[in-house]
Structure formats: structure tokens, C-alpha cells
Amino acid sequence: MSAETPDQPSHAKAGIQKQIQLPFSKAWQISLQGIRIRWMRSLITASGILLGIAFFSFVRTAGLFPIDMTDKEAVSASNRQSWLAIMALLVCFVGIMNAMLMSVTERFKEIGTMKCLGALDNFVVKLFFIEAGLMGVLASLAGWVTGWVIMVLLHLLSKGTEGMVSAFWIASVRELALSVGIGTVITLIAAVPPANRAAKMPPIAALRSEI
């Protein structure tokens, strides 16, 4: 038998090349298609992100209206408000984590299948990065708008346009950036590491994983 053992000099990889790296545009295209064909599932995941950020933005927007520092009740309400904002951040963190982890782990088998068909690890991760990033940005944006609009409407109903000065508008823009930033980062933290872990597994381990 040993006489038949094929030699293995460095040129013995005859016929085997390096798998091509697909361009980013291809990953973008597949990710978009992924969101589209999983539309209902994507919406549910996105609403998890949206609700978390909406709660956060609602509480933060309430804090943007100037308060009368001589009014003791208003000051203590404002203190409660900052605790509420921290709570809101926690709630939205857990909510988004839950939604994204679920949506990634239920696709471990798909990751294993794609690897069997010749997908490179980093391509699989790229798909999930783009998908999670897009959902994170769009859902956080929608969430911020939802929370902000509801708070502003409530304010208009009770106090009219009082306090809606230029400082309020500037602060709103800052809050928008903060909310979208936080929402997107949490989404990516929840989605990319597990996708990366699944992509690095031997395909059979990813295929076998049950949830």
C-alpha cells in the first residue's frame, strides 16, 4: 500500500485553486434579498429593535424640555427621568440582543449549508454583518422617530410649544445620532459574533446544531 501513497510536494495541489472572494456588491445584493425573502421574520426582528429604541428615545426626549429649577416636583421628576433612561437602555439592550441572537442561531444550519456549497467564512460573516447593520440602522431610525414623535405630541397636548426652542431641536438631532448609534451597535454585537462562530465551525458542526 505504501508504494501507492501519492507524493505530496508543494505542487501536488493540482487542480485545486483558491476559492474566489466575491465582491462586496454581491454580498450586499444577497443580504438585501435575504431581508426581502424573509420579510415577515425581518419585520418581527426589526420591531424588537424598534421598540427598544422607541422606549429609549421617548424617555430621552422627555428630558430635553427645559425644567423650572425652582419647582421641586419638576426637579425630582427629572431625576426619575434619568433613572428611567438607564432602565430604557437596559430594556432595549436585552430586547435587541434577544431578537438578533434568535434570528442568527435559527440560521446556523443555513450557514453550514452555504459552507458545504463553497461559501468562504468571511463571506458568510459579511452577509450577516450587512443584514444586521441595515436592520439596526433602519429599525433604530424608525424607533427613534416613533419615541420622539409620541413624546413631542404628548408635550404639545399638555404644554403647547413651551420649551421647543432651538436648543431643543439641536439636542434632538444629537439624540437621534445617539439612538441610531446605540441601536446599530447592539444589533451588530448580537448578530456578528454568533454568525462568525458558526462560520468558523466545521460545516458539519453548524449543520448539526439544533435550536
Binding site: M1, P6, Q8, Q17, Q19, L22, L117, G118, I204
Partner: protein, 246 residues
């Protein structure tokens, strides 16, 4: 020996699983040479190590010892990108559970390997339709896996396995989730592809219907090759094998 006589060769394959205190040698020194164009069945009861052997040959799992040569290339020498190339171009996989991507249509599933191979979209779609016609599902190209029967899903999986003209088709219990008649149709299809396209078919199975069409049958027991039978011998024994159960 002609360099390309053997499409797959394994040398002293060992795979060890440790479960708590217990050490299980799922593969215990397997040497197997598979000829180009052969239809080979790996038979054995569940837990015999046949799936482990299948996964090692397919590069889906790494053996603890020993080597797998595909077209005389040692798989252990390949880096991740070369391994991906091998999975994309050289081997087509078929699974017991079909493993189609549920949200994609039949055509999209079949086309996916051509995407990874970098084939232009139009060409890939054309290739996909050609393959779906080949497995008799051209008219159902826009259906999702959930809208197809088990047999039809397995046909889609076979079409997908052929997408990049592989030299090997690896089928793990391809009839395991199918009824008798559908299973036979799948076996006939695999045999036909093996004859017409010259693709080597390696199938892990405990389905006796497979024995009828195989050129050789490899019997695995306790992680070792118990015996290898050539087709000529199988024909003689087939009468006595019916009804025998593992």
C-alpha cells in the same frame, strides 16, 4: 498506477469522540480507495462510523489521524480557501435532511453554488434551469422547499450538488427520509447521473435498495471496514440478503 485512477483515497483514518469518561473510536484506521466513476455504497448500522467516514471524505469534519486524498491531493494540506474551492467545485453534497435553504426557491437553491463559484448570474440561472430539467423539476423552479414533497426536495438537492460539475457526489443517507417508492426513484436518478455524467457517487446508507445499483459496497462496523464487496459477488448473494435487518 495512473495518477487519476482513484478519485478518493483514505489512509489510516481515525476519529475519536470523547463523551465524559468514555472514548469512542468512531473511525479506527480506515483505508479506502475509490475509483473514478464508481458508484460506491458505504453500508453499516447507525453508530458504525459511516457518517463520520462520509464527513471526513467530504472535508466537513477533520479526522484526528490519517489522511484523505481527493484527486491525489491531501486534504489536510489545503487552507480554508482551497477547501472552500474543493467543496464548491469538486464535491457535491446530498443530505438525508435535504438541507435546502427554506426561504429560497428551487431555482435559487440550485443556483447558489454557481454564485459562490463566481459564475455570472444569467449563466448561473441558465445552468440552474438545465439541472432542474435534468432531475425532472423544470416546471417547479419557482417553488419553495416547503411547497415540494420530500422526493422533489431531494431532487432539487441533487441538482444543486451538480451545479458546478463536481467529480464526486457525496450522499449521506439520501433515501433516509423518503418512502420506498420515492427512495427508489432517487436511487435510480443517482445511478443514471453516475452512468451518464461519469460522476463518482459515494453514498452512506443502510438502505438495501442501494446495494442493487452499487459497483462496490463497503461494510463498516465499529469504525473499521468489515468487508468490501464487488458488484459481481453482490449479485450472487442478493437473494439471501432480503429481509435481513441490522
Amino acid at each position: 498506477m495512473s495518477a487519476h485512477e482513484y478519485v478518493v483515497r483514505t489512509k489510516g483514518l481515525v476519529k475519536i469522540y470523547t463523551m465524559g469518561e468514555e472514548v469512542l473510536r468512531a473511525l479506527d484506521g480506515v483505508d479506502l480507495d475509490i475509483r473514478r466513476g464508481e458508484y460506491i455504497s458505504i453500508m453499516g448500522p447507525s453508530g458504525s462510523g459511516k457518517s463520520t467516514l462520509f464527513n471526513s471524505i467530504g472535508g466537513l469534519d477533520k479526522p484526528d489521524e490519517g489522511s484523505v486524498f481527493i484527486n491525489d491531493v491531501d486534504m489536510a494540506q489545503l487552507d480554508a480557501r482551497e477547501l472552500a474551492y474543493l467543496r464548491c467545485h469538486t464535491i457535491g453534497y446530498i443530505f438525508q435532511t435535504f438541507n435546502l435553504i427554506p426561504v429560497m426557491t428551487a431555482l435559487e437553491n440550485v443556483t447558489l453554488p454557481t454564485v459562490f463559484a463566481g459564475m455570472p448570474t444569467d449563466e448561473g440561472l441558465e445552468r440552474g434551469m438545465e439541472l432542474l430539467d435534468l432531475v425532472g423539476l423544470g416546471h417547479r423552479y419557482h417553488h419553495r422547499p416547503t411547497q415540494l414533497s420530500g422526493g422533489q426536495q431531494q431532487r432539487v438537492a441533487i441538482a444543486r450538488a451538480l451545479a458546478n460539475n463536481p467529480s464526486i457526489i457525496l450522499a449521506d443517507e439520501p433515501t433516509g427520509n423518503l418512502d420506498l417508492k420515492t427512495g427508489e426513484e432517487i436511487i435510480d436518478l443517482l445511478r443514471k447521473l453516475n452512468r451518464d455524467q461519469g460522476v463518482t457517487v459515494i453514498s452512506a446508507t443502510h438502505d438495501y435498495k442501494m446495494v442493487n445499483v452499487s459497483d462496490r459496497v463497503v461494510w463498516i462496523r465499529d469504525g473499521k471496514i468489515a468487508k468490501i464487496e464487488e458488484r459481481a459477488n453482490i449479485d450472487l448473494q442478493i437473494g439471501g440478503m432480503h429481509g435481513e435487518e441490522f
